[in-house]
Amino acid sequence: MSPPSEAPCQETTGFLFSHACGEPMEAACDRCGKILCRDHVSSVQGESLCMTCAEEEEDDEGDEGADSDSDSSPTEDDPSYYYDDYGYYGGSTWGGGSSKDPNDFTEADGESLRNEDDASFEEDLGGS
């Protein structure tokens, strides 16, 4: 870990309004070089990482775990998990048959629905 200096932390902080942290430097991210204060440096497997790089590392680890943990039961990513009796397209649209409905979502659309299991509800006031 690098010694403390006067360089300001480059992470953003703030509950209502995102703004630069600005606290004194404690370390630099071992991967992207971002300057970090004591509160914003994460130690992951011996590396000092910023929040973004630490999350990417955790995601990579999670993906590896998921590959070996398949389950055929419906999950929150399956539209039928939520849409028995509520939704824009009605229950009859989903599943069954070989015809393709033009309103069906694609894998790319899933990006905008991916936060359905996000744990930051009521914690991120930049959320919308």
Partner: protein
């Protein structure tokens, strides 16, 4: 009816909550009511809110340094000090940080929820059904919502910030976008909003469209005022205020700076736009549909809002590459504008809230 005191709670990121709340607030103020609007939109400091909202609306931005507990205390103090006749909450019945849930039962105002779709995981985990029951009226503005069948729920058309007569003519709109009156090529506008990063990405998309269209269309990058200029902090005094101070550095140069058109509300210039390229946010989508502007949109990931559900198949691109490609095809096809009609539910919403107050 007699002038009453309205508080409109519009905490939430992006511009959607603020824009919808502004639509309601300005019409309520025109009816003579005194309106205070609470926002933490990062775009708010740069917007010409005075001009759009008029003199009857006060905007409050809570202190930027407040933590979650600080927000709870500030909102509680705000409600206690303002003593509203009606408290209108946009989208989040528990408040964005859950701070309203314990406050609403003791609040002596009439309570109105602007009820919209919410991430079902949030609805389930945070017992949103219970929170909804604290409201005297649920206004459902143009889209389906989990409790749209509630006995106190009323559907309206989507709310738009401007009335039809306030939109610019096609010639005026093109002039506002820096397009010559004699220009025969279609105008493709890329909407930059959502988050500061998405504003910049919209500039990238505009540059790609400019390159792909090779002069067969005029491309513009629509950006709200202040989004690429120095940012101002919120009022740390915790008092309603519109005064701002710029402290940050300006945005770095962008390859699409020559395409930049700084405008808000973008709705005003849509009569001059032939193809709108944007995300799937509430205002972008409903403004495009109301003005008959062909839209090509990418559904963005949000914590609560599910943009993919809002978009029709013909409006929705599956990836950034498809977004660009389909926008190019749309511009080259030169589609005609949709037939309208221009319908906004905002005036209906104000009338329904006034009716609720009369019945109190």
């Amino acid at each position: 009816m007699a002038a009453l005191r309205w508080l409109v709670y519009a905490l939430g990121g992006g511009m959607g909550h603020l824009t919808r709340a502004c639509a309601l607030a300005r019409l309520a103020a025109r009816r003579g009511h005194a309106v205070t609007l609470l926002t933490n939109s990062p775009f708010a400091p740069g917007l010409p809110l005075d001009a759009v909202l008029g003199p009857g609306v006060t905007v409050w931005r809570p202190g930027a340094t407040l933590d979650k507990q600080g927000v709870r205390e500030a909102v509680a103090r705000w409600l206690d000090a303002e003593r509203p006749d009606v408290f209108v909450v946009d989208t989040f019945p528990r408040g964005l940080g859950g701070e309203l849930a314990p406050l609403l039962p003791g609040l002596r105002a009439r309570k109105v929820l602007i009820h919209r779709d919410l991430n079902p995981a949030y609805v389930e985990r945070f017992d949103v059904a219970r929170a909804v029951d604290a409201f005297d009226l649920l206004l459902v503005p143009g889209e389906d919502a989990p409790f749209a069948g509630h006995p106190r729920a009323v559907r309206t058309a989507p709310w738009l910030l401007l009335e039809e007569g306030e939109l610019l003519s096609r010639a005026e709109a093109r002039g506002r976008l820096g397009v010559a009156a004699e220009e025969a090529r279609p105008v493709v506008a890329v909407m930059g909003c959502g988050t500061p990063a998405e504003v910049e990405e919209a500039g990238d998309i505009a540059a790609r469209l400019q390159s792909r269209l090779e002069g067969s269309a005029v491309v513009r990058w629509l950006v709200p005022p202040g989004a690429r200029e120095p940012r101002a902090p919120a009022s740390d005094e915790g008092l309603p205020s519109r005064s701002v101070r710029a402290t940050a550095l300006p945005a770095p140069p962008h390859p699409s700076d020559a395409l930049l058109a700084t405008v808000w509300p973008a709705l005003a210039v849509l009569p001059g736009v032939d193809v709108l390229v944007g995300a799937g946010g509430y205002n972008t989508v409903h403004e495009a549909r109301a003005t008959g502007t062909p839209l090509m949109a990418l559904a963005r990931a949000r914590l609560y809002d599910r943009q993919a559900l809002r978009l029709r198949a013909e409006e929705r691109a599956d990836s950034v590459e498809a977004w660009v490609e389909r926008a190019v095809q749309l511009a080259l096809a030169r589609p005609g504008r949709g037939p309208g009609p221009y319908v906004s539910g905002t005036r209906d919403a104000v009338a329904r809230i006034e009716r609720l107050l009369l019945s109190a």
